[in-house]
Structures are given as structure tokens and as C-alpha cells.
């Protein structure tokens, strides 16, 4: 059983399109996150949800919108994709201060 699963693993799309990345965790964790890893491997938080409530919303363009239908799911929708959105997007979950469990990442390529 995969603890944190993201789909799709790879996404290639054209500029201007809208796409979604789905994330599900079966660990019973209360908090879920989206991180972006750029081409230099730098990891930066985008959003955090705790029990479906938005807790952290870093400086991210409005084109990015997270949605958490329940505690186990946190999806990321991106409108009007731009070349600069190309990156690896990681979903993660946590409970307390034990560190995160990460999904396997989604490599998004905008052409």
C-alpha cells in the first residue's frame, strides 16, 4: 500500500492549458502539503492544509488553487500553465513533528 500517492507521475502539456495533480494519503495524517522543486532542486512550500482547512498559502500565483475534499486528499489545480511552471511537484503529509511522508512527485513539463 502506497502511503502518499500522487497522480500522474509525469505530465507534459502546452502553455495555456489547465491541469490537475491528485494526491491521496492513507496514513490518517491531519496535515497535507504541496511543495515545488525547481530545476536547481530547491524545495519550496506552496500550500498546507490541516483537516481540510488552508493553513499555509505562500506567495504562489492565483493560477494555482489547492482543493481538499477531505482529510485524506489534497489536489492541485493549475490554470493557464506557463513555461515557468515546469518543475517537480511533491505532495506530502504529516502528523505532529515526525517529519513528512512524501509522494513520489509529479514532473510537470510545459511546452
Amino acid at each position: 500500500d502506497t502511503a502518499v500517492s500522487q497522480t500522474p507521475k509525469y505530465l507534459v502539456t502546452q502553455m495555456g492549458n489547465d491541469k490537475s495533480i491528485k494526491c491521496e494519503q492513507n496514513l490518517g495524517h491531519d496535515t497535507m502539503y504541496w511543495y515545488k522543486q525547481d530545476s536547481k532542486k530547491f524545495l519550496k512550500i506552496m500550500f498546507s492544509y490541516n483537516n481540510k482547512e488552508l493553513i499555509i498559502n505562500e506567495t504562489v500565483p492565483n493560477r494555482f488553487s489547492p482543493k481538499s475534499p477531505d482529510k485524506a486528499h489534497l489536489n492541485l489545480h493549475i490554470n493557464s500553465l506557463e513555461l515557468g511552471d515546469s518543475a517537480v511537484y511533491f505532495c506530502a503529509s504529516s502528523q505532529g513533528y515526525h517529519g513528512y511522508t512524501f509522494g513520489s512527485g509529479t514532473r510537470l513539463t510545459v511546452v
Binding site: T31, Y33, K40, K41, F42, L43, K44, I45, S48, N50, I55, I56, V88, F90, A92, S94, G96, Y97, H98, G99, Y100, T101, F102, S104, G105, R107
Partner: protein
């Protein structure tokens, strides 16, 4: 805001030898957690080791150990008996204790190559 600095962008080590990766951080908090994560070429982020700032004893997990110097705000990772499978990016990360979602702040990473 917290910052995490990894001053070694790349390192290499011979198989079976020991290597130490450096990490420093800046915070005004007294209680926090520190982590090392490994990211092999598969891209998966794997938790290597965790240290609680209020514990003076350095954390150890098999061949991985840390040297936590709270006053110096330093948190280095030592890998003993390096194996080829240790080849990966290693990220140091900081988590402060509050209700703001337990955000992890990552350093820029160190790419480690283990040579046969």
C-alpha cells in the same frame, strides 16, 4: 523566518569511507526539529534522520548520525561505511513548533556521489 544553508553543493566519497555533510540554520526559536532527507535519482524523498532540539543527545540511525550543535546552529550528517546506494541529493530541513502547519524549510541540498 527560518533559513537553512547547505554550503557544499557537491561531494564525493569512496565506497566504505565516511563522509560528513554540513548544514547550518538561522532561527530565533528555542524549540524545533531538524531533519535530513535523501533524494536518490528515483526522485523519492526519504527521511533519513530526525533530531529534536531540546535533546542534547545526537540522533543515530544505523550508518547515519548527526552532530547537532545548538549554540552554533549547526546540524551535520555523518554517513559511515558509505555504500553505492547512498548516492543521492541530501536535504537538511528545519521545522519549528507552532500551529502554522508544521512547515518544513529546506536547505539547497548537497549532491553526494559514492564512488566504487
Amino acid at each position: 523566518a527560518q533559513t537553512v544553508t547547505q554550503s557544499q553543493p557537491e561531494m564525493s566519497v569512496q565506497e566504505a569511507e565516511t563522509v560528513t555533510l554540513s548544514c547550518t540554520y538561522d532561527t530565533s526559536e528555542n524549540n524545533y526539529y531538524l531533519f535530513w532527507y535523501k533524494q536518490p535519482p528515483s526522485r523519492q524523498m526519504i527521511l533519513v534522520i530526525r533530531q529534536e532540539a531540546y535533546k542534547q543527545q545526537n540522533a543515530t540511525e544505523n550508518r547515519f548520525s548527526v552532530n547537532f550543535q545548538k549554540a552554533a546552529k549547526s546540524f551535520s550528517l555523518k554517513i559511515s561505511d558509505s555504500q553505492l546506494g547512498d548516492t543521492a541529493m541530501y536535504f537538511c530541513a528545519f521545522m519549528k513548533l507552532d500551529n502554522a502547519g508544521n512547515m518544513l524549510t529546506f536547505g539547497g541540498g548537497t549532491r553526494l556521489m559514492v564512488k566504487p
